[in-house]
């Protein structure tokens, strides 16, 4: 019996536990009782994280499309095809005619190498990953206000907060350890404001539950700030010593008195006043949010508004405070940190900066690097649909299930001349591929993931990759070498981390020897730096905090006579994203095995729908059949669906309307209708 300490491959909370294996077969999970987050109790997904590893559906050999059919092929042939085709497309259509989708599920080392492959070998900044779909609004919104786009505090700060303002986060379902810690804090007396149109589990324990209209967040937050200033509850000293642009904020929020905000949000004026008072008068108040804030056409405005609220009251830079975006995937924080983004290298160093580029030119030993920013992935799919992107290399990502407006995504993939998909299972996206490369999963390779609290933690190889699968980093190195690039040779992922540390100031002090048992939180500037549990202590990362006021804008699509419901999306506790892993896990698949729509009984009765009836949900993008789930937990007029189920994919319905700055799609609001299936 072998027990290998590793980091969970599901959400970004970053629990560590031991994978139990016996003769290279995975047989169970044993929690780490000393890990600061996991504390001996993984969530239900964590407890089951071993079963998919040796599922018979795992890809074990490369596949190449021949006569329209994917057929097993050798690594030599598959890699040669990739290395031959991508440059030939570039030669014909230009350097930026190909695109690289990196993966928030793979390690830091692999994300770093993939962006190095795109930039140093294929000379394009067209590299992005699914943070575009979840927290690109956070990266921009917090960088503009605070100077750093990550969770400002640590998960342990939950134990120290007096008040929580949880907005757009179903924390107990999607970050269960953090949600449970909030519940524990409430039990010891902390106050909890939950802003969510659904009565999520946290709402049942809340001091105040604000069921504001979906997409009215900016109005709600501006209204709270209006009340805070009106009643003299702002933190004058903090505003004067640590921020700028206050007058502009004041002028904007002046236009959001509770009476007007109540009309926009559907709340009562008193609810807005109570929330503002509770948040502002607490000694330590913590904002926790997730994709309910970011996935809007006004996602960046939502994030800026939350940052404004925190600065206005001085709830930043201390234990138990801060603005805390909870990242969704195991390594989405790391994939951003590693520069799998179109405009920055690792550590958010801009590609447009000459000095930064020169540093990477020297380290990577290339003649030059492209200076203009590449395409975000949402824009890249639009470009593919128009025939402007010809080649796409996707790693560990399933846009057919995860991106909005599935019809559009399928069409975009069909237009491509060449699609490479590297994954552990044959996903819906891989069905469109010209080449499929079988990758090792988290249990079959070494590396690191960075959790939502910026903690860089070890992932360890507990068994050899299944069949002919290879670790992603080894595949990238092989491609680089075949493409004639000589400087991508590593004996082990620790050597890649050493290179990352050399060129990435915030990871400057990270090495495998330092994170052997418990990880360090970036910024960790040198080998003696202890890491940074709380950002913005005494000084914002960007110097002065900058108020960036935002005006309320309605969602891109609102209900009308034809589509009278608001459709919003989210996740089930039992499944992880596109379900490729959790739907191949016995107990999780047993728990939820088909798509469902939550509907309020008032609406259901009116439409003659009963619990578990099959219903048709339709939007302007299409329609899907699913099972109705009647619950008072959802507001009348709103429908809730998940996106895990390929058979009736939620994202067939969602709207590909993008935030103008972060290019994030508006998953959280569109207009829909529902009818009982005859």
């Amino acid at each position: 019996m072998k027990k290998t300490l590793t980091t969970c491959p599901f959400c970004a909370t970053g629990c560590m536990y031991y994978l139990q294996s016996d003769h290279d077969k995975f047989v169970g999970i044993e929690p780490s009782t000393v890990h600061s987050i996991a504390k001996g109790h993984p969530c239900v997904k964590g407890w089951n994280a071993f079963q998919f590893i040796h599922h018979p559906d795992r890809l074990t050999t490369p596949l190449i499309r021949k006569n329209g059919v994917l057929e097993a092929a050798g690594w030599e042939e598959a890699l040669d095809l990739v290395v031959h085709t991508l440059p030939s497309l570039q030669a014909r259509y230009g350097h930026d005619s190909i695109m690289f989708f990196s993966s928030a599920r793979t390690t830091n080392e692999e994300n770093y190498l993939f962006m190095k492959l795109a930039r140093a070998v294929f000379k394009t900044n067209n590299v992005d990953h699914c943070a575009r779909l979840c927290h690109s609004s956070s990266v921009l919104g917090l960088a503009a206000t605070f100077g750093s786009g990550a969770m400002s505090n640590s998960i342990s700060c939950v134990d120290e907060a007096d008040t929580f303002f949880v907005i757009g986060s179903n924390t107990t379902e999607n970050h269960p350890q953090i949600g449970a810690r909030i519940l524990q804090s409430v039990k010891r007396g902390a106050k909890l404001i939950v802003a969510d149109s659904r009565t999520i589990r946290l709402a049942k324990a809340a001091t105040l539950h604000l069921r504001h209209r979906n997409g009215s967040d900016v109005a709600l937050i501006n209204g709270m700030m209006h009340v805070i200033i009106r009643d003299g509850l702002e933190n004058r000293e903090f505003i004067e010593s640590r921020t700028q642009n206050y007058e502009q904020l004041k002028n904007t929020v002046l236009r959001y008195p509770p009476s007007i905000v109540a009309e926009i949000t559907g709340l009562t004026p008193q609810e807005i006043i109570d929330a503002a008072h509770l948040y502002a008068t607490s000694p330590a108040a913590m904002i926790i949010y997730s994709v309910g804030i970011t996935q809007h056409t006004h996602g960046v405005d939502n994030v800026r508004s939350l940052a404004n609220l925190a600065m206005l009251t001085g709830h930043v830079g201390r234990p138990g405070t801060g603005v805390n975006p909870l990242r969704g995937q195991n390594n989405v924080q790391g994939a951003c940190d590693m520069g799998a983004l179109p405009n920055v290298f690792s550590g958010y160093q801009k590609v447009a900066d000459e000095a930064v580029r020169q540093k990477f030119v020297n380290e990577w030993r290339v003649a030059d690097l492209p200076a203009h920013a590449g395409l975000p992935m949402t824009r890249a799919l639009n470009a593919a649909e128009r025939g402007e992107i010809k080649g796409l290399y996707i790693v560990g990502e399933d846009p057919v299930i995860s991106d909005p407006d599935q019809g559009h995504v399928r069409n975009a993939l069909q237009q491509l001349d060449f699609l490479v998909v590297q994954d552990i299972f044959l996903t819906a996206t891989a069905e469109y591929a010209d080449v499929v490369l079988p990758a090792a999963c988290f249990a079959e390779k070494d590396g690191t993931f960075t959790s939502t609290e910026r903690r860089i933690q070890r992932v360890r190889k507990a068994a050899l990759p299944i069949g002919g699968a290879r670790a992603d980093w080894e595949i990238f190195c092989e491609i680089a070498s075949r493409a004639g690039y000589k400087y991508m040779h590593y004996n082990a992922p620790s050597e890649i981390m050493d290179e990352i540390a050399r060129v990435t100031p915030i990871y400057g002090g990270i090495s495998y020897s330092r994170i052997d048992q418990i990880g360090l939180q970036w910024p960790c500037l040198d080998e003696h730096h202890p890491g940074t549990p709380i950002l913005h202590v005494g000084r914002f990362v960007g110097g002065m905090g900058c108020f960036c006021p935002a005006e309320y804008r309605p969602p891109a699509e609102t209900p009308d006579a034809e589509y009278p419901f608001i459709l919003t999306t989210g996740r089930s506790y039992f499944h992880y994203h596109t379900g490729s892993m959790t739907r191949r896990t016995r107990l999780l698949e047993r728990e939820e095995n088909r798509s469902y729509v939550e509907i309020n009984p008032v609406d259901a009765h009116r439409l003659g729908i009963r619990d578990r009836d099959f219903v048709m949900v339709a939007t302007r993008r299409g329609e899907i059949v699913m099972s109705a789930r009647m619950t008072k937990d959802i507001t009348p007029g709103v429908l809730f669906i998940t996106f895990h189920f390929e058979e009736s994919p939620g994202n067939l319905l969602t709207n590909n309307a993008l935030d103008p700055e972060s290019h994030i799609p508006e998953y959280k609001v569109c207009a829909a209708r529902i009818t009982r299936k005859p």
Binding site: L5, S32, V44, Q51, P56, R201, Y573, R586, L587, E591
Partner: protein, 327 residues
């Protein structure tokens, strides 16, 4: 009875490692206390209770039961060649083991568990062996051999033929007759938690705990299933098949009554549809139903579920709340 020092005991175990697969408390990579194979390092016999479900040695998280080939050839999974020697379990652990022994042997005999269990030898540890030298109750017979620590030595109490067989192999040690004082100290240990559990059991039996209470507890449950996964007397499992190229493999794995799918019928109807029902079942099953069925409550107060519950609703915590509110 013989006495033996810790060093001598370690040397003894090391000397018989060819004959047995020896498993005991070890410290894992990050400091987690667990069960592991004996190495040249002494076992962590004084590091406290093993937090994980220790009975996983006999009833693992998941296991292959058999494989069936396309030609209908049946291949039963074999057990390890050497007999298992388990060291370091506490009195409450041994009581839990005694219960699941009975559970898996009664009625439909669970061959997979029983075969593994039959060829094993269990050595308990008690006496002044707590992390800070505190006294741990003596099981008085629920294992093959018990090592009772008097602060300097282990006194060896053999309870079965297997125990005596091992004891005879130990060439070191002196004879002693000082066990009586330790036994008296063990029997005098106060067990207020057991009284709370018994009171809670009676309140439940008399139907004095209302549904609102369970709804309130259920609202605090995040369905992580950690409580049932670490409980040494939880025996529920689910069975599933893996279809491979030329064979089908059948596995079983721990199940949890805290999941909705645990009782859901194919029609979608569910006798334990709400979390409130499921939480009530988790507690009531051990304190009331098992009392009727097996003649004893099947919580032995090891405290593992309380230690792992992220929201503080393990067995001891819930029993205490029941007694406080309804007692």
């Amino acid at each position: 009875m013989k006495t033996i020092t810790c060093d001598q005991f370690h040397h003894f175990l090391y000397s018989i490692r060819e004959d047995f697969e020896i498993v005991g408390p070890v410290i894992l990579h990050d400091g987690t206390l667990s069960l592991g194979r004996l190495t040249a390092e002494p076992l962590a016999l004084f590091a406290g209770r093993i937090p994980f479900r220790f009975t996983s040695l006999f009833f693992p998280h998941s296991e292959r039961l058999f494989a069936m080939s396309d030609e209908y050839r049946f291949d039963k999974s074999g057990s390890s060649a050497k007999p298992l020697l388990v060291v370091g379990w506490r009195a409450e652990d041994l009581e839990a083991l005694e219960f699941i022994d009975e559970f898996f042997r009664t009625g439909f005999r669970d061959d997979v568990f029983c075969d593994r269990r039959q060829s094993s030898v269990v050595i308990g540890v008690s006496g002044r062996c707590g992390v800070n030298g505190e006294f741990c109750r003596i099981s008085e017979g629920k294992c093959d051999m018990e090592l009772i620590y008097d602060g300097k030595h282990f006194i060896m109490a053999e309870y079965t033929e297997n125990g005596r067989f091992l004891s005879e192999k130990i060439v070191w040690g002196e004879e002693t007759d000082s066990l009586e004082a330790l036994l008296q100290e063990s029997r005098a240990l106060r067990t207020p938690e057991r009284e709370i559990l018994q009171t809670a059991s009676q309140l439940l039996m008399r139907n004095q705990v209302d549904d609102d209470f369970w709804a309130e507890i259920a609202d605090r449950c995040i369905q992580c299933t950690s409580c049932t996964n670490v409980c040494p007397t939880c025996t529920c499992f689910d069975v599933y098949d893996m279809r491979l190229k030329r064979k089908i493999e059948r596995y079983r794995m721990w199940d949890s009554c805290q999941m909705s799918g645990f009782m859901r019928e194919a029609s979608g109807h569910n006798p334990l549809a709400s979390q409130s029902d499921r939480t009530r079942r988790r507690i009531r099953h051990k304190l009331v139903d098992d009392l009727h069925r097996w003649g004893r409550m099947t919580c032995f107060l090891c405290g593992r579920c309380d230690d792992v519950c992220p929201t503080g609703i393990g067995m001891k915590a819930v029993a205490a709340e029941i007694v406080e509110r309804f007692g």
